[in-house]
């Protein structure tokens, strides 16, 4: 009954057309910012939060949550079209999205991406509505050992994204951990691998790292092809109508991915990057056709994107129930709540029940608006591929440089992306995959900080890593997943070797 009363109160705030206009505007702004490499939902929210001062709190949060949803989804557009994730959370989408676009199925990939994003977003909003206080308390259970365990669970994805050559995949992941090590040690503040440079003391930020590893590596690969052969632009301008069959076919993968996104989102300090990789790995592990992964598997896109957007609702849980922002985006939303005179925390649910339910409703409507715009866009976005690469790639370079500079206002980061891109290109030529490196890079600081915190907190007792039942459970899941992936990898390699032999005999 209370739920219905609050829900009605939440709906009542939607009576103003101003709320609707700003909510839809927010989704559009989020899509534009998310689709530009280097600019993220965080950038958009940081830019536009001060502009919402003049608006009523309902209009303001309609707009901000619209930006939030649109921004999380839109990073998949450049990930699919130009192999450049718009935001770190969309990095996993590159693995399947870009090969799918290369197969001439850009429209389908974009359609799958926006539909699964919408499903993930709505799923998490419903979970938020029904279980917010319950899941919110889960945040209390997470200490350093549990965070370390969950980051290691994320690293188990290495086995899944390493491709055929596991030692190279693991080495690539470890090189990513090295990238994350550069700069100050989180516990002692000691500087490492900075070569005396003041700029390097802050380490490598996520945006320059990802743009270097994905976008510039691709640009350099294209530069290598100059004059070699006439370019074949495979474009798919046909609108791919969302089909229920695509999602029914992998309903369990979709459900698990949404659940992973919501739960991971509810854990402060994790976010969409880790959830997308875990969902991808789980989808690959449980798939009936794991051999299709890495070559444009639709299931892979569905898993990554549904999980990525399921984080939006999940991350609102600790924000509203405990007053803990899960990541930089929710930190800005926390500031916005305070600016509009609300105190997030344990009393939020009782003090502002109408606002909490207003959030659920806005998240659901924003996701639907995002779906409509995304589907409409999926008809037009692939036209970008009709632009010859001789024109497209110089613009990609300038866009990357502008995006990185806009995110940090530092020329050092611009040189850094060139170096990272060049090293990444050489590694790709040597048969190393970029996906494990990104995984290591993104999870590196989480792993190192919680590794050290656990040891400090337990007076150097290594058993502290598996002391609590929760961390035990996560470790068991990590070991089971890795073993499963290794066995599958071995089988797949054996069948490949047999096929190569047969071909040679022919």
């Amino acid at each position: 009954m209370e739920l219905l009363t609050n829900l009605t109160a939440g709906f009542a705030h939607l009576a103003s057309p101003e709320v609707w206009i700003f909510m839809i505007l927010g989704v559009l702004v989020g899509i534009v910012f998310g689709a530009i490499p280097g600019l993220t939902a965080t950038t958009a929210l940081a830019m536009f939060t001060p502009l919402t001062f003049a608006l009523s709190k309902y209009t303001a949060f309609g707009f901000l949550l619209g930006v939030y949803c649109g921004g999380y989804y839109a990073g998949s557009i450049p990930a699919i079209l130009i192999n450049t994730p718009g935001a770190p959370g969309n990095a996993a989408t590159c693995v399947e999205g870009y090969p799918m676009r290369e197969k001439g199925q850009a429209g389908k990939a974009l359609s799958l991406s926006v539909t699964s994003s919408m499903m993930g977003g709505i799923f998490s909003a419903l979970v938020l509505m029904l279980f917010a206080p319950l899941i919110g308390e889960m945040g209390y259970l997470f200490g350093a050992p549990e965070y370390f365990a969950i980051a290691m669970l994320g690293m188990t994805c290495l086995a899944g994204v390493s491709g055929k050559d596991l030692p190279k995949g693991i080495a690539s992941g470890l090189l990513g951990l090295c990238m994350a090590m550069i700069g100050q040690d989180a516990i002692t503040g000691m500087t490492r691998f900075t070569f005396g440079s003041v700029n390097m003391m802050a380490g490598i930020s996520l945006i320059p790292g990802l743009i270097g590893l994905f976008a510039l590596t691709e640009v350099f690969a294209k530069a290598e092809q100059i004059g070699k052969k006439k370019e074949e632009i495979i474009t798919d301008f046909t609108f791919y109508k969302p089909r229920l069959a695509d999602y029914i076919h992998c309903k369990w993968i979709l459900f698990k991915s949404c659940l992973i996104g919501t739960v991971i989102g509810a854990i402060p300090g994790t976010g969409p990057t880790i959830s997308a990789w875990i969902a991808y790995n789980e989808a690959k592990r449980s798939s009936k056709h794991p051999e299709e992964y890495g070559h444009g598997a639709a299931e892979g896109i569905i898993a990554c994107e549904s999980s990525n957007n399921a984080v939006t609702g999940g991350a609102m849980i600790p924000l509203t129930t405990l007053g803990i922002p899960g990541d930089s985006v929710t930190a800005i939303l926390l500031g916005a709540l305070m600016i509009h005179g609300m105190t997030p925390g344990v009393t939020f649910v009782t003090n502002y029940p109408d606002m909490l339910y207003f959030f659920f409703i806005v998240l659901i409507i924003s996701n639907l608006a995002m779906w409509a715009f995304g589907l409409l866009g999926s008809k037009f976005f692939p036209y970008i591929l009709a632009v010859p690469s001789s024109i497209l790639f110089p613009f990609v370079i300038v866009l990357c440089i502008c995006g990185v500079y806009a995110s940090s206002a530092n020329y050092y980061n611009l040189f850094l992306i060139v170096i990272i891109g060049a090293v990444g290109f050489l590694l790709v030529k040597a048969g190393f995959s970029m996906a494990p490196m990104v995984l290591g890079f993104v999870l590196g600081s989480l792993i190192e900080t919680n590794f050290q915190r656990t040891l400090i907190g337990s007076s150097m007792d290594p058993m502290a890593f598996i002391e609590s039942p929760l961390s035990k459970g996560i470790w068991i899941a990590a070991v089971v997943l890795t073993s499963w992936m290794l066995v599958k990898n071995r089988k797949s390699n054996a069948s490949d070797a047999k096929a190569a032999k047969k071909e040679l005999k022919k």
Binding site: M47, P167, A171, E224, Y405, K429
Partner: protein, 152 residues
Amino acid sequence: MKKKYIDIISGVVLMLFSLWGWYETSTWKESSAAAGVSVKTYPRAVFALIFICGAIIFVRTLIKMMKKDEGVQALLNKVTEMHLVKVAVVVALMIIYIIALKAVGFLLTTPVFLFVSMWFFGERNWKKVAIISIAGTLVLYLFFVEFMNVNF
């Protein structure tokens, strides 16, 4: 370059890199803030694992090279083409662009960079290249400089 040589070089480079990393950690001074945990523990664990991976790649390739299996030899002799000069030119162009961006500003350097790089990437219609470079720069300028207040 043949795959076997790439793998051998990769293995050796990884081992050398990890040895350098290990040596670098030995130059660090221990901090009392670490409360018992050495700041070297985690990085050394990572470098040790990189060394192991490098060694596996190196030894595995050597063992495969000694095998007489035709399938294995065919895989090892697979050639990966490398045209590093073209990549080096793009890298150089980008570095010059970044330096010029800092010195001269966005509006003057971007159309020049776009023009030169489009030409290098193979677009030979200079009128088209010139128009796209200028128009593209203006759009980017409006978005980043005017709308987002990014000061290059």
